[in-house]
Symmetry: D2
Subunit: 287 residues, 4 copies
């Protein structure tokens, strides 16, 4: 397989128009890009939206990058394209927000440490100080920003300041606070949350207690982008695990943890590998 | 393994009290029953509810049955027991209610034909005539009872008359009508419905359209006992299948069919094999 | 979505060479084809094999078809391409081979009847007469070709004669006979078998007994293309289901049936929808 | 639910004989034990083996323990019973053996730290020094015992010495060495290994490369007790995860890691909670 050094991913969304695929593949050929994966989808080939993900290899990608972006802009105008170009050389920077429960955080750190999730983690931010040691032993800065009902605005201000210019996306790894619309608007489709239920079942707080009371036979977890509508953002990944009538609400919580960490880590991997496009309230996954 | 002929299942629910398990096992020993499986559960060993399922073999079970029931009644009084005794020789009798979609019905018929679900099917009842051939070729009577808003009471009356003395439990195999509380009260915890979603997500009508609009990554099905609260009865079994962003609402419906028929058939099997106890709004499964 | 009438799927395998994707997309644009899905893969973008599946819409596809094929041939020569073009209008013709067990056959017939698998079934061939009624009630011809050790060659001869010109691919829906290399060579990668184990575990006969004896916790099924190496052909789909220590070998067989029919039906769907490419002893799936 | 302090689990295997369940439940009643769960199984109720797991609560269990064991011994003689009695107060002591890969070790440590696996870990033993920091930060002793072909006997000797009187069972958390029959005989059915394949598929070394070459669609992991027959011991738990044709052998390895750690941690939980009985080459699970 090609060296990871010279690989980039191009994501495109645009209205359908005849010849787009030719145009894009010719564009890449003219720039000497060698296509590795080309995936395309449409909601309706005559009048819908078209989504593409193209991985390509380009020798000396660094020196070519500026021109490539410029030419993409020109092409994008003709086709009303939204596009993102991500070079594997330039890793995404992820901030992790946590409260007190560490299982999701730890799974992300393990997969980051092993190289499985190729991302940089410039900081972890928490409204509690509990998980500091867990984070600092990896050499990652840990910022404790305490929070109460009156101080949410200032706390978010402080977090935004720390992240400014250093963070591309945020993962809420069991962060038990609701973000303000102002905060969310600064990172549109760049905040990933893990909800500890199979949404839309058991929205809101205490899903395991609700699941226990309802007597469900499977419990689940949902990773989604955060929007202003609580628990209503575009779903990236979901999974479930089987429970039984012997399980207490506490057992559901423990079983749930393993699904949560797995689902969140998968969603983060896909986001990092540029495999997720958002359209309206849904995701298109190139997996 | 023992001959199926002389096997019976005893299901017991009662408040916890010291010595119950001894009492029950001694009772069976005195009646010369040979225990095959003994499963017991409790919500709280000092003050909760106790649930038991015991499979046993008893030579000449037919001649012993009457005395066994009488003695069970005596024991039950001392311990405030609810109990059911089911001999494998006496098959349960299942009525199937359908509307127009036949996939769940067909799966039940196949598993019945192969002997996998050891049940008798004295009749299929439908508000449409579409599935008559499918049913009659197995030699099973098919009753078409048309139905409109004004005639529901009469239609249910007619069905009850047909079933009287002939039917132990009812399976709603995609029967698209809501039963009246009067009807439900006649077969308490003896009506099994298949809901085409992973309840409590997407209660009510058109769950696949709702699931499509929400962009979920898994769709599911739920088999539950019918109560007066629509889609709120005790859950017997649930399962899910993975879908993707390419799936149309129609595709979800097709994928869903296979989960529905599998989940319903499993729930019916367990009911037939006396593996389900209902306590409040939950099921205890001896599986 | 576009009318299914004018849709075709183009499958291409060829050695990697710069510009192939441009060439193919330009080719389709010149022929006024409107691309719906474009999926491409490579084993190595500089020196490997490239695989493509393109679904496209073409007005008046019937009149354009001949020219399209001719031009594809020309393009194929330049790039050493293997290609298949399949119009949705021209349904594939599937022969089903069975022995005595009908569960896989019935699942295929149900999915065919509901339109879920868009295929024609010109005949079912069996070495037993048991399943005749099941097949004939759908109006599908059933041919009973008895078979013993001495008559395999003649039996295959007879089957080949019946199928000649009428059958595109064969499904062995629990056909308990090994085909001769001569027979297999006539339908290369066009014979789908269901093996009742999670291959390569439990190759050969009686996999459920072997699984029972080994005490596995999951049993599975494998759909694969038939080659001369028994149970070694390219795997199309696999799945598993959970069993437990209470399961007898007979229970495993029953649980297995449901996995078998599901896995085989899925594999057949993908084959019919032109979503499977074979390369060496592996399949590339465009699902 | 009852306090965990006074709970014990009794596991019994014995040949079937009428009245055993009465005898055991009367025995517990006479000792003032309050039964929480009573699960029983048989291979054949007239002439097979019977397996029981009984959880019970006993006030002042510490002072009663000695007499209970003595009386169990007496009862056991009459019925040729094998039995184990495990008080929740007396935690099992688990040694973990590792080589260089840490994912299974880390999962076990996380579940131990969170209290999910109620076990003591007196030591980790390794033939490499790589994972020392990971272990010591939890305050667990880490012993590096280097190993080469000539020194296996001495290395095992050293390990046995360290464990003597301190260790109840051993977990091979990706320990890449084959233990000698002498070593295995000292811990019969007390050594749990994780094999990185869905056994019996891909026995031996490099299962992911073999799985890649065979083109399987699911990869798995198997936790089993170690016997002298390599990869042939009683299976405790198995699970699988889906892979696709885009996956490289390296990708399979990464996906496999998550199944491995989950399967091993589940098997260890069950072992610690006395939910596993071994009979011949199979396990009976009370889960």
């Amino acid at each position: 397989m090609p060296s990871q050094e010279n690989i980039a991913d191009l994501l495109i969304s645009c209205p359908e128009k005849p010849g787009i695929i030719s145009t894009v593949s010719n564009f890449l050929l003219e720039h000497d890009a060698n296509i590795i994966h080309f995936d395309q989808n449409t909601t309706d080939p005559s009048a819908g939206m078209l989504f593409m993900r193209i991985s390509f290899e380009l020798k000396d990608i660094d020196s070519a990058y500026g021109q490539l972006e410029e030419d993409l802009n020109t092409m994008a105008k003709d086709y009303a394209m939204d596009w993102q170009l991500n070079s594997k050389k330039k890793r995404k920077r992820m901030a992790i927000f946590v409260s007190k429960e560490g299982h999701c955080l730890k799974e992300l750190l393990l997969r980051w440490e092993s190289g499985e999730i190729p991302v940089d983690i410039p900081m972890v931010i928490s409204n509690h100080d509990d998980l500091r040691d867990e984070v600092e032993r990896y050499g990652i800065p840990y910022y404790h920003i305490p929070l109460n009902h009156g101080t949410k605005a200032q706390a978010e201000e402080k977090a935004l300041e720390l992240m400014k210019g250093n963070v591309d996306f945020i993962v809420l790894a069991r962060y038990m606070q609701i973000l303000t619309p102002e905060f969310v608007s600064i990172y549109p489709n760049q905040i990933i949350n893990i909800h500890h239920s199979f949404l839309p079942a058991f929205v809101g707080a205490n899903p395991y207690v609700k699941a226990f009371n309802r007597g469900v036979k499977l419990i689940g977890a949902t990773a989604h982008y955060v929007t202003d509508d609580l628990d209503e953002g575009p779903i990236i990944e979901q999974d479930v695990t089987r429970v039984n009538h012997r399980s207490t609400a506490e057992d559901l919580k423990i079983s749930g943890r393993h699904v949560e960490k797995q689902v969140l880590a998968t969603a983060v991997s896909w986001h990092v590998e540029n495999k997720v496009l958002v359209h309206g309230n849904k995701t298109i996954l190139f997996t």
